[in-house]
Each structure stands twice: as structure tokens, then as C-alpha cells.
Subunit: 457 residues, 2 copies
């Protein structure tokens, strides 16, 4: 095992990086692109060290999140070296680009036919996973933990509890190579639908708070454009994808063309989704789903095929047939393989940064902690019950897969705070709920999936 | 040929993108990460359309630069759609990251042993390529075209003429697959040394302008730390690289570890170079050079090898031997292959943005144009003569390879402008010189290289 060596080398780089920044901060040198280069290197190395949790059977994403929490809270111990990362607007952008690339990748790896098969189930799971936590938030958590508070606060707590952060669950399924299972497809589909439903709820609740009420027209319009985006993406995709596939299969205008077209396609859809008011990740996922049936030939590999065919030219027919079968899966590659390194570069930034937004100091405030635990229980229960309508699959995997709130929950809470209906205390409690839903889901899900594997075996 | 289809599809995406932004600008929606996603998509698609100049034998980089010039000057025709790109700080960062990745890539593809072999020649070329243009600038161009101007202005014009922008030349060699030639190695080595010499000159000239003079101590210190960085990078690299190679060859802690370590290493060196006062690209190049001897096994490919070995198990010995030989080059891959997609994503942004900084309206001012042409001739001649000391290689390729000034020249001119010794007119003239040296070099170099190929054949 070279575990120790890798670890010490990585740690060395990390410390060297941190000291270098520290020295530079002391020297008073102005912030520049070069400093951001260093931050990227530090984040990537830290993420890779953290991903060694895979050695103890945990998904890499858990390590990355925890590493983020550690880096983001070292200031509590008087270490302020990593604080500038939190305010680096470029790192923030790269992090958002990272999660867009992740959802694009997940979309590419998802199969539109399989998604359609689980479509009804995903829709049911999404609805239950939105209605139950919302109702529990408004009519139970609110009155119980915050008696006498404004009803609008209850509404926002409810809204915060609805959104599923698909990024974390998707990474767990990806880390454990379970993206192709029915459970994963249902969760992914439901999470996307959740995002749409959550968006509608948020828009409606915001309108109710600001305008004191909202017309059926506004609700219908928000609903219509969101549904239209997803449906048209998938319909257009199914019409266009086969032609695109044919076209792309013939393109030989130099390496990189297909990769560029594909990734631009993903970014363009992310932009469109945002324009409509959906999260960019929903657009990126839809783009990946649309491009899914398209096979991209990867030029370098064509050479492997040629070389090996040449080598067995003189051999007997059976060997030739064996070799053809062996090289077949390597003769063409999905665009996934080209997107992967871009993902390796950008995705860890998102998860480390998500971890860094967590502020551990709220954990020391007992009353807030109690409210937080109450909200967390509701957050868990509300989503776990959604697994009950998932049909003939492992209901626990679906239910727990829906739990993470991640940055989506935080965005909702932040909006409530800016509207003045979420107090600092409730905000902290929501943050704790988001932490717990984010950090507990990966290990629980990994355990459930492995138990399921054993049962089948 | 699917040239037309690809072209129309790309164009469609581009127009859709531009219209989308246009619509959004009209709607008055605030700038967000999503808009930057769109800009990235637009730049990538535009770059890929432009790279079709490869079909007429031109290097892709020329197309990307020209596309940048077009997009950046559409405002002259009243089209302001692409103007926001110029002020997008995130695009600017991605562009800088792109050129860092490019030089890291070039460093990976360069061989440290080969570089040492051409070291003395590269040093000679660099010295001549700095001294001649500097002297010509200060004592010929200045007095001749700007009689009566401040001597400090002459000094700055001279300094502007010294720096070689290695990015463009390196891309041409890369596009034409000539990075391994002696000429390319000399130019790369000389360009890096040039950067160091140019930096020293710039620091000294700036000190002379601001302080009215400069001590030998300052000059020595600037020189020492620059030389120290490069020498220690290479020495340490040669000591550490073989160990690192051994270590990396054994790592099997999940895919992506080596890629992450390598790219973090490159970014870290880019940061270090900047700290010392060198361009980040010099650090990235040094990092690539250091990592060069390190072979990184690429996990997926190990599977190709296993599959094919299994397929020929029953075959005769000769076939087995043939197959072993055929798969050998595919059995391990350099980290280059993983860095490549990241480069495909980021590098075009740099070249399109470099093109976009070009302002064509200065071309309509005849007096400036004349000064510009004078400076340009000196810029060309000063570097072409440097090829004369390149030894037994194609002297023209080396000489012309040294010509591009690119963004380095612009940075020098910008500094002179901020110090008040470069007027708006001289600045415009320098911009034209940079345009011409940047746009004319790729086709000339491509032509010289092809002529050289024919001669050898």
C-alpha cells in the first residue's frame, strides 16, 4: 500500500500551499489570478486527501464535504488561512460550474428510456416528497417550535424543507457505481421534478409574503413555463438526438469538436434553465439526458483498433473473432470520457465549498440546536415517506436518497431571511438541518446500498 | 464531407446563444453565473467554427484569434451583443487559466533532456532576441518616428519589443504536431528565458522611470530570484521526478488522483512564479517539464490490455507477440491525455479573448498606422535575426517563431501608459504591432514548417 506515501505527499503540497498563501498575505501582495490558482490547487489536493475515505467504504463525496467543513471552520481554532476562499468570487463560480458539469455528466450517464419507465413513480415520489415536508413544516414544526411566530415564517420553513439537492445523492450513486439502478433513476427523476415543484412553491410563497397574496394566474404561469421547459427539452431531445448522433458519428473535423459541442450544449441549457427561473443544474441535466443516445467516436481509440486488427491479421478466425469482441467496447467512447477530466477538475470544488459554508459555531447554541433537531427530524421523515410510493424497489434507498437539502435549502432560507420572515435563529437552525441532511445521507445511503447488494447476492 | 452540416449546426447554436443574451440584456436581467455559462458556450462554439481553418491548412489558433478579432469588433458595425464578454471578470480568469493549462501541457509534452541539449542555443537566441529589438527600439524607432519625445518613452518602446509570447508559437507547433522538433524546443526554451530577461528589463526600466535611476543591487536581486526559480525548478525536478514517477506508478487510490496531483502541481508552480514576479505561465511550463518523465497509468486502459490478452489466449505465439507489441503504446498514458479535455475547454477562451482585445478602429488613423508599421518591422527584424544564432536548424522557423508579442507586449505597453511615458498614440501603434506579430506569425510559421517538411522529404 502506498496510501501513506500518497497521503504524505499530498499533505506536503497542501501545507506548502497554505504556507505560501499565508506568507503572501503577510507580505500584503494584492489578490490576483495566481492566488486563485493556488486556492484551486489547495481545494483539489484537500478533496483528494479526503476522498481516501473510499478506503473505508465511504463515498468520496462525504470526505469532500467533511474536508470542506474542516477547512471552513479552522478559523474557530484561530487559523484564518483559508478564510479568503469563502469570498473568492471566481472559486464560487467554478464551484457552480462544477455542479453544472456534474449534473450534465449524470444526465449523460442516465438513460432517457429508463427514466421514462420510472417516470410515473418518480413523479409520485416527488409529489409526496414535496407535500409532506411542506405540510409538516407549516403545520407542525412552525407552531410547535416557534409558537407565536408569523405564519409567513412557517410557510418559509415549509418551503425550505421541500427541495431535494440532487448533487449529493447523485454523487453517492456515482461513487458506488449505482447510477443505472432503478432506485437511482427514480431519485434523479424525482429530484428534478422536486426542483420544479420547489421552485413553484418558493415563487408562490415569496409572492404571498411580498404581495400579501397571489393570483392563480401567477401560479399557473410559473408552473407552465417550468413544465414546458422540461417536457420540451425531452421531446425535442428525442427527435433531435438520433440525427445529432448520426451527424456527430460522421464528424471528423479534428479532435475536440464533439466534446466542445456537447459541453457547450450543456452550458447553453444551464443558461436557458436559469432564464426560465429554474436552477441551472436542471438545464444541464436535461442537456445530458438529451445527448445520452449519442455515441461519440474518440479518435485516439480508433488507432488502438487499427493497431490490434493489424497485429492479429495472420491469426486463426476464432482468435480474430475473440479480439473483435474484446476491442468492441473500447472502439468508441461516449463523450462522458472527455467530460470526466473536466469534472475531476471542477466538481470537487463544489463539494468542498458546500462544506465550507457550514458554520459549526451554531452547534454550541442549545435552544437553536433543539429547533434544528426538530426541523431535521421532519426533513428526514418527510422525504423517507416519499420512498413508500416508489413501487417495487428498495423504498429505503429512494427515501433516503431524497433527503439531502444542500445548497438548495440554503438558497430558500437565504431568500426568506432577505424578506424578513426568517430570523437569524431560524436560519441557523435551517443551516444545521442542511448540514445533517447533507452529511448523514452519504454514509446511510452507502450502507443501505451495500446491504441491498448483499441481500441480492 | 459533413463540413457544412457541422458548420450550420454550430452556427445555429452560436446565433441561438447570442440572441438569448440579447433577449436577456433587453429584459434587464442581472448578470449571473448563468450568463457566463452562455458566454463560455458562445466562445467555445465560435472557436470551434474558427478552427475549421485547419481544413485549408492553417493552424487552429489563427482561426481562434481571428474569430476573437471579429467578435471583439462587431461593435464597429453597431452590434453590441458580445461587448459584455470583454468586461466579464470570470471569463478573464478562465482565459488566464487556459493559457496556464496550455503551457503546462506544452511543458508535459516537452522533454527536459532535449531542452538541455538545446539549452545553450536557446540562451543565445533569447539574448539576441532581447538585445536587438531593445536597442533598435530605443535608438532607432524612438528617435526616428517620435522625434523630440521623452527618452523614457524610447526605453519603454524598446522594452515592449523584447518579450516573446510563447503561447501563440507553442500552439502553432502543437497544432502542426512539431513540438518535438529541435526548432520548437529552441523557441520554447528561448521564449521562457526571454520572459525572464524581459521581466528584468521591465523592472529596471520601470525603476529608472519612477526613481530616475536604479542601483545595481535592485537589478541583481531581480535577476537572481528569476534565475533561481527556473534553475531550482529544473534541478529539484530532476531529483524528485524519478521518485515521483515511481510513486505515481504504484498509486491506485481511485482514478483521478494522479490527474489531480499533476494539475495542482502545475497551478502551484504558476502561483509560485507569480509570487517571484514571473508570469504564471513560466511556472506552469516549468511544472510540466518537471513532471514530464513521469508516466501515469490510466486505469481504463489497463482494462483494454486485460480484455485483449484474454481474447488471444488460445492463439499462436507469434500472434500473441504481435498483439503485445500493438497494445504496448496504449497500455499506459501520460497525464497529458487527462489534461487534454481540460485544455480543450479552457485554451480556446484564451485565444478568442486575446483576439477580442484587438481594436480595429486604430487601423483607420494613418499617422498612427505609419508609426505602427515602423515598430512592426523592427519587431519582426529584431526577432528574425535571433534565429541566426540558433545553430544547425532551420533558422527561419526559430526566428519567426520568436516574433509573437501577444499579451506580454500589451502588458508592458499598459504599464508604460500607467507610468505616463507611453501616449495613447504610441499605445495604439504598439497594439497594431502586437496584432500583426500575433496574426501574421501562425500562417508564416505554418508555411515555413511545411516547406521544411517538403525539403526533407
Amino acid at each position: 500500500m502506498n496510501f501513506k506515501k500518497v497521503f504524505s505527499f499530498s499533505l506536503l503540497l497542501l501545507i506548502a500551499g497554505a504556507s505560501a498563501v499565508f506568507a503572501s498575505e503577510e507580505g500584503g501582495v494584492a489578490h490576483s489570478a495566481a492566488t486563485t490558482f493556488l486556492w484551486i490547487a489547495v481545494i483539489l489536493i484537500a478533496a483528494k486527501i479526503a476522498s481516501l475515505v473510499e478506503k473505508i467504504g465511504q463515498p468520496a463525496v462525504l470526505g469532500e464535504l467533511v474536508m470542506g467543513v474542516i477547512l471552513g471552520n479552522l478559523f474557530l481554532l484561530g487559523l484564518h488561512i483559508f478564510e479568503p476562499i469563502k469570498n473568492d468570487s471566481i472559486i464560487a463560480f467554478l464551484s457552480e460550474l462544477g455542479v453544472v458539469i456534474l449534473l450534465f455528466q449524470i444526465g449523460l450517464e442516465s438513460n432517457i428510456e429508463k427514466m421514462k419507465k420510472v417516470g410515473v413513480r418518480a413523479f409520485l415520489v416527488a409529489c409526496v416528497g414535496v407535500v409532506v415536508p411542506f405540510a409538516l413544516g407549516v403545520y407542525l414544526v412552525g407552531p410547535l417550535f416557534l409558537p407565536g411566530a408569523d405564519f409567513n415564517s412557517y410557510l418559509f420553513i415549509g418551503a425550505t424543507l421541500t427541495a431535494t439537492s440532487v448533487g449529493i445523492t447523485a454523487r453517492v450513486f456515482q461513487d458506488l457505481k449505482k447510477l443505472q439502478t432503478k432506485e437511482a433513476q427514480i431519485v434523479l427523476g424525482a429530484a428534478v421534478i422536486d426542483d420544479v415543484l420547489g421552485l413553484i412553491i418558493l415563487a408562490v410563497v415569496s409572492a404571498m409574503v411580498t404581495a400579501g397574496g397571489v393570483g392563480i394566474g401567477v401560479i399557473s404561469w410559473i408552473t407552465a413555463k417550468s413544465v414546458l421547459f422540461l417536457v420540451s427539452s425531452i421531446v425535442v431531445g428525442q427527435l433531435v438526438a438520433p440525427r445529432l448522433g448520426k451527424l456527430f458519428a460522421k464528424i471528423n473535423t479534428g479532435s475536440g469538436m464533439k466534446f466542445t459541442l456537447a459541453i457547450s450544449f450543456g452550458l447553453f441549457f444551464a443558461f436557458l434553465a436559469q432564464k426560465i427561473g429554474l436552477a441551472p443544474i436542471v438545464g444541464a441535466f436535461a442537456a445530458g439526458l438529451v445527448l445520452d443516445p449519442v455515441h461519440f467516436k474518440y479518435f485516439k481509440d480508433a488507432k488502438v483498433v487499427r493497431d490490434i486488427r493489424g497485429a492479429v491479421e495472420g491469426a486463426d478466425e476464432r482468435t480474430k473473432k475473440n479480439v473483435e469482441e474484446a476491442i468492441e467496447p473500447h472502439s468508441h467512447r461516449h463523450v462522458e470520457d472527455l467530460v470526466e477530466p473536466v469534472g475531476l477538475f471542477l466538481i470537487p470544488i463544489f463539494f468542498v465549498m458546500t462544506g465550507m459554508t457550514v458554520k459549526l459555531d451554531v452547534l454550541f447554541d442549545v435552544p437553536i440546536l433543539l429547533v434544528a433537531l426538530g426541523i431535521t427530524v421532519v426533513a428526514f421523515v418527510g422525504k423517507i415517506v416519499s420512498g413508500l410510493v416508489a413501487g417495487k424497489v428498495n423504498k429505503y434507498i429512494v427515501g433516503f436518497g431524497m433527503i439531502p437539502r444542500g445548497e438548495v435549502g440554503l438558497i430558500f432560507a437565504m431568500m426568506g431571511k432577505s424578506l424578513g420572515v426568517i430570523s437569524d435563529e431560524i436560519f441557523s437552525a435551517i443551516v444545521i438541518m442542511v448540514i445533517l441532511s447533507t452529511l448523514l445521507t452519504p454514509p446511510i445511503l452507502a450502507w443501505l446500498i451495500k446491504r441491498d447488494d448483499k441481500k441480492i447476492a
